[in-house]
Symmetry: C2
């Protein structure tokens, strides 16, 4: 009896050891496959250089859908299809911002914020009132701001180590300034970009108008160098600005698509793991980090798992979502379809924080599920992934989480460089490093493998 | 009595709590000071753009010494001085590599390896013999290699997650190929660069000649794209190459300097903590990551600790070492001086792995000392530094470690991008991100603070 017990103990230990070894070996096979033969970097080059930026509703976004479908097929997905999504179409048109800092007007680099209404293409000229915060603005006498262009000079805080904390801290000035300003009679808004950059790139991004407000003020972002110059000039004396912009939201929605590819599960094909990124981008640069990276990494998960001959228990889907930037219609369409079809989603994993070196996997799910994942932390450490303590998912998969209670996870790459290029003309292919991009894809594929093998109950 | 015991317990708990809080607060102050007001990025710009590359013995290296002395003074060091070092001077001169892959000769991007002897400026033409490894070379009949130019086509392994492992694996082909080749009568050597780059930059770096060999073969490195083309051509048929190079080691050593700045310790000034990087670089690019970054970070440690008014118990020294790349004369001079003056060195900390986002601190010291440091790991985690499990120091501080048994530590930044630019014309200021550079400096200053406060016995 003693002997039998011992044998069982040895056997169990050996099995556990074997299981661990098997997982480590598979993690390594996935990493080797992607680091040595990954096609995500080349895919990103093609997306960036032949499609370029691809705002929802534009012909470029339609071209990106065609690219995505082809790339997904080339990756070896068992099935590839397009899922219909109606998306808003915001039109930028011509725009300019001129500042009179001393004497004469001079054009400066500027971008209207996404979803905003412009000046109807006509110059709108007014004195500039600079404030450092919403509170400072609200404290000014109404006569001092009425008819003025308000410069919200709130700085992106560089003291946060995780730059997403700085973004979270500052982004209300992009999202909400026209509403705050309109309530006290201002004529327009200029903001300091949501930027860690030591340069002059303006950063676009979405804003919104409160339904209750009849007035829709134009809003433009300027880069840090221009903002510094404007700040200095405002401190010295009177400054005026001339905003001219044609931008507006089109009345009609435009038909578009999510691109979906999958590997059919062998044992429980009805259970689905989703990995994804978003295919649309802002209408500047090439949407390389945001979020071409997430798209090509998701496609790479399919390609690599196929290439190493892995036969997953569950169905694995890669989804290139449409319209994350200004509506999240793709995310909602995917979640609605999942609910309508009564799909069983095990987990959804998004990469939408740039194609940088991975550091962690954010987990937004029950504590029990988090702890289930965390017991495999040591498997990720050789791939420089150590952080499983943050709640992160992704905008595109959040409707799945909210409507369908699907656990979600988010790739957490190093954040130092993201807000230098985010939503700027400088978010181009050349800003992405091939090894960093591939390592991120490897970690996504490893996570998918892990959930396939060990479930997430 | 019970009450007293309890009081002592509470008191001790409070003190421990207080100590922890104090450390956390100081870590934050250091980080805030550097992320918000750090001058290291601007210092790096000046070094890269006004001095540029600065190989030991060159006028540029002398200019870099002057720059370093000034920067150290501006940082607020209590004392700044130059330490004499005699360094070798390797002269590159004109060089070209032409390949006849099909029909006619065409010039390709190539760099002679550092310390190598060229062709005396005269063209040296021979057939190319390609081998994948030393073993493959040794297995060839001598008649097949005699008088030939050997192309050592060993690939930098991209499957290592830590790219320094790939470098360690491949670097013998740069360091030793001319010796291996000469022993069997070859006329010259071409190597595939030690490069993770998906580009055509050749990477220079040091090589050596064995004393026992009378023949000093010329050695040139080519970038990955040229190497791929050469590989393909060699597989097809006969290929020849024409090497022309003037490079040679100058007979005489040249006087140069380590640049040293220090903050005098308040309680035990005789005990010294050294932080450093190396001031010399290869003679291409701007030596931005290698190792301008380590220099400006070391200066930043002095500046930031001064700026926040920290009064260290021990003396803190920042050292810009001369001649790491091809001789390590600066490191030896510093260690020799330490021995001669009977200096008491507590620890030496080097940054020479690029100005990338920090991930860990390598520790090369006794297990007891390692464990002493590791008990403060949690303090570094908010700064994304989690890895204290590797033995790393630095070339410059290694003589201090070997001759003087001084514990050494090395900053471990993310390694993914380093070997794309290392020793290439592309190691320029623009490759360095301001936040990544500053975070590395913050971690160095935090480490120095920690050792000042808690010792390292």
């Amino acid at each position: 009896m003693k002997r039998t017990t011992l044998s069982i103990a040895i056997c169990l230990a050996a099995m556990t050891g074997y299981g661990q070894t098997q997982d480590s070996i598979m993690f390594r096979r996935i990493s080797d496959e992607i680091l040595l033969h990954g096609t995500c970097y080349e895919n990103l080059r093609v997306l960036c250089k032949t499609v370029g930026h691809r705002l929802s509703g534009t012909p470029a976004a339609a071209k990106a859908v065609t690219w995505g479908e082809k790339a997904m097929k080339e990756a070896g997905a068992d099935k590839v299809w397009l899922q219909k999504v109606n998306v808003p179409y915001w039109y930028r048109g011509k725009e300019s911002l001129e500042l009179r800092l001393n004497g004469s007007y001079k054009k400066v680099p500027a971008l209207s914020l996404g979803n905003s209404e412009g000046t109807g293409g006509k110059p709108m000229e007014a004195q500039v009132v600079m404030v450092g915060s919403f509170d400072e603005y609200k404290a000014l006498p109404e006569k001092d701001v009425k008819g003025k262009i308000v410069f919200f000079n709130y700085r992106f805080r560089q003291d946060f180590v995780n730059s997403f904390d700085g973004y979270g801290d500052a982004v209300a000035y992009r999202w909400n300034s026209p509403n705050v300003a309109a309530k006290r009679g201002a004529a327009g808004v200029i903001i300091r970009s949501m930027s860690t950059g030591m340069d002059d790139h303006p950063h676009t991004g979405s804003m919104h108008y409160e339904d209750s407000l009849a007035v829709k003020l134009p809003e433009m972002a300027i880069g840090n160098e221009t903002a510094d110059a404007l700040e200095a000039a405002c401190k010295k004396g009177a400054v005026s600005a001339r905003m001219t912009s044609e931008c507006h939201m089109m009345k009609d929605m435009v038909p578009s698509f999510n691109v979906i590819g999958e590997i059919k599960g062998t044992e429980q094909p009805e259970r689905i793991i989703t990995v994804g990124g978003h295919l649309d981008s802002w209408d500047v640069g090439e949407g390389a980090h945001d979020d071409g990276a997430g798209c090509v990494q998701s496609i790479e998960v399919i390609r690599a798992l196929k290439a190493i001959g892995y036969r997953p228990r569950y169905t694995i889907r890669a989804v290139l979502f449409m319209n994350e930037e200004n509506g999240n219609k793709g995310g909602h369409a995917y979640a609605d379809s999942a609910v309508a079809r009564k799909e069983q989603h095990v987990v959804a994993f998004e990469s939408d924080a740039g194609g940088f070196s991975p550091r962690g996997i954010g987990l937004e799910m029950s504590e029990a599920k988090k702890n289930h994942i965390r017991q495999y932390k040591h498997l990720f450490l050789p791939y420089n992934v150590y952080d499983f303590d943050h709640e992160e998912g992704g905008v595109d998969i959040s409707p799945l989480y909210h409507k369908h209670k699907v656990p979600m996870a988010g790739l957490m790459p190093d954040s130092q460089r993201y807000f230098d290029v985010h939503h700027t003309p400088n978010d181009v292919f050349e800003q992405v490093n091939h090894r960093e991009l591939k390592l991120g894809a490897a970690v996504m594929a490893q996570f998918v493998y892990l959930v396939c093998e060990h479930g997430l109950e």
